[in-house]
């Protein structure tokens, strides 16, 4: 920490942070609208969360408590590195507990523990444009957003049903925000879509490579697109978490050996640990008393 003085607080210079905050404020004022911003080079490659890191860096203060998750886990490379980064450049407190965090930067999950007012969820977004794979021209997609021409989005869902008999989109499932803008919720599983609806927490989305920021203010309607005869539904799992026995949570499949052995465990590691500390047990949970034991999902 000796050479920390060479960096500004939270890495970015103050002018950059102001620019990003202006983009964030505009995004909050127009829920779901993608605000262009002058994305900076960050000391990490595109695709590793440069957008999310810039958003976090612009809103974080010395009193904040930061949690970073990657696919729900606090202990994967990306999450550990980003947490260490902010510990170093902003000297903030970090945590893995959802309830204690004021800012949660996430890659592709929303924590199972309900978010509360005052918390900020920062998403890392690879491709912010939900229409991109249907319409490659940016000029045209911006016009479609401006004129609210979203028929094409349903064409994609139609194709899903025609090909697979149901809406087969399982992540980055398009949503309509406050009845106006169609938005890509980033590649979170559609399991998490209902959590965005009228969430008390502020949700910010940063796409570094694509240079876009968008936002969902607290208590905003976020509705997943669907057909009347093929309504939106989330994934369900036919067994509980093998370690903590939780039901109605999003599970990851973990391969155990070379002989087809596998188990389903909570994707949200913090949630799983909390439940085990409270004495919940899944059918594959070790017998020993665990307190300090960490689950290590295969990555």
């Amino acid at each position: 920490m000796t050479d920390i003085a060479t960096y500004n607080f939270a890495y970015l210079d103050e002018q950059t942070k102001r620019m990003i905050r202006r983009a964030i404020l505009k995004g909050i004022a127009i829920p779901g609208y993608q605000v262009p911003f002058a994305s900076r080079e960050m000391p990490m490659p595109y695709g590793w969360g440069t957008g999310g890191v810039q958003v976090t860096a612009s809103i974080i203060g010395p009193d904040d408590v930061l949690k970073v998750i990657d696919q729900g886990a606090d202990d994967t490379t990306n999450a550990v590195s980003i947490r260490a980064f902010f510990k170093k450049v902003a000297d903030v407190a970090v945590t893995t507990e959802t309830a204690k965090a004021t800012i949660i930067q996430t890659r592709h999950r929303i924590p199972e523990h309900p978010l509360t007012a005052g918390q900020v969820l920062v998403y890392q977004v690879p491709i912010p444009e939900p229409l991109r794979f249907l319409e490659p021209r940016e000029t045209e997609t911006r016009k479609m957003h401006a004129l609210e021409e979203y028929g094409l989005m349903h064409v994609k869902l139609y194709e899903d049903i025609a090909k697979h008999g149901r809406i087969a989109t399982t992540y980055a499932y398009p949503v309509k925000v406050e009845g106006r803008y169609v938005m890509d919720p980033s590649p979170t599983p559609k399991f998490d879509n209902p959590k965005m609806h009228r969430s008390p927490a502020l949700q910010l989305f940063g796409a570094g490579r694509e240079k876009r920021i968008y936002a969902v203010p607290p208590f905003t309607d976020v509705v997943s697109l669907d057909f009347e005869d093929h309504p939106f539904e989330i994934q369900t799992f036919d067994q509980p978490c093998a370690l903590c026995g939780a039901e109605n949570v999003y599970l990851d499949e973990v391969i155990l050996d070379d002989h087809g052995g596998h188990m389903f465990v909570c994707s949200d590691t913090d949630h799983c640990e909390k439940r085990r500390e409270d004495g919940h047990r899944g059918h594959l949970a070790p017998e020993t008393h665990l307190a300090s034991e960490k689950m290590e999902p295969a990555q």
Binding site: K143, L147, E148, E149, Y150, G151, V155, Y158, I161, F227
Partner: protein, 258 residues
């Protein structure tokens, strides 16, 4: 039938710098009427079509369209949102090259259903049923509904494009060389189909073509263009059987006799 035209065009001109695209074109189009615009390539017929369909803005002149509520609206004063809405509900545009008018990477059914979804249809079963119905009306077998247009022949693509345009029950369809690039037997079937649909649905259409036979088969009225100007207009049979302008006479006498 009402006694008011569907489209009123007055002194429409489009200049590309100092070059003339089309110059001082005026006409009325009536409901259920098919108007053919003929002329050699470079005569301004496609420019005229693009101006009328608001894909291009003219340099001067006006065009007003009678909306479904009976009110005339000046096309070039409408907002872009209104124009695009008109484009995908009350109008159709059939491109010469079907790839320009179709989404080549989504299935035939979705191509037909897109306009329905764009105007707010949200019932998969109904959209699909409508798509099946329209595919059969343009003579595409039902089992091709989930195939992409890439897997279709040129004639099928063109018929799919027509179905895609007609599914919202438009009142006015623009066609740019709808039979261009098709062999004669496919052309004949397509013309037959188009003629049937236009009559059944009471469509008004503006058909741009260089093929006088197509014009004779499809249209009741005809405009002959040369160098951006209308040199002659009148009933199709009259213009073709008794051409008055020297250029029209040249054009008619240039038809190859087999």
């Amino acid at each position: 039938m009402t006694d008011e035209p569907l489209l009123r065009v007055s002194a429409l001109s489009k200049f590309y710098g100092s070059r003339v695209g089309c110059d001082n074109v005026s006409f009325d189009l009536w409901p259920g009427e098919v108007l053919a615009v003929v002329g050699e390539s470079g005569s301004g017929k496609t420019t005229l079509l693009n101006c009328l369909s608001t894909r291009l803005l003219p340099s001067s002149g006006t065009a007003s369209y009678r909306m479904r509520d009976g009110q005339f609206r000046e096309l070039y004063r409408m907002s872009e949102a209104e124009r695009r809405f008109l484009m995908r509900t009350d109008w159709g545009f059939v491109h010469q090259n079907p790839a320009d008018g179709l989404r080549m990477t989504v299935s035939a059914g979705a191509n037909v259903g897109e306009r329905l979804m764009a105007v707010g249809d949200r019932h998969y079963g109904k959209i699909r049923a409508t798509a099946v119905d329209w595919l059969s009306r343009v003579e595409i077998e039902e089992d091709r509904i989930d195939d992409e247009p890439r897997a279709f022949s040129g004639g099928m693509r063109q018929r799919l494009q027509i179905a895609r345009n007609l599914v919202t029950g438009p009142r006015l369809v623009f066609m740019d060389e709808p039979t261009g690039g098709l062999d004669v037997s496919v052309q004949a079937r397509l013309l037959d189909l188009l003629r049937g649909l236009v009559t059944d649905l009471g469509l008004a259409a503006i058909v741009v073509t260089h093929d006088l036979a197509v014009a004779r088969l499809l249209s009741q009225r005809m405009m002959v263009m040369k160098d951006g100007r209308v040199v002659e207009s009148g009933l199709t049979d009259r213009v073709l059987d008794d051409p008055r302008a020297p250029y029209t006479q040249l054009l008619v006498s240039s038809i190859l006799q087999v």
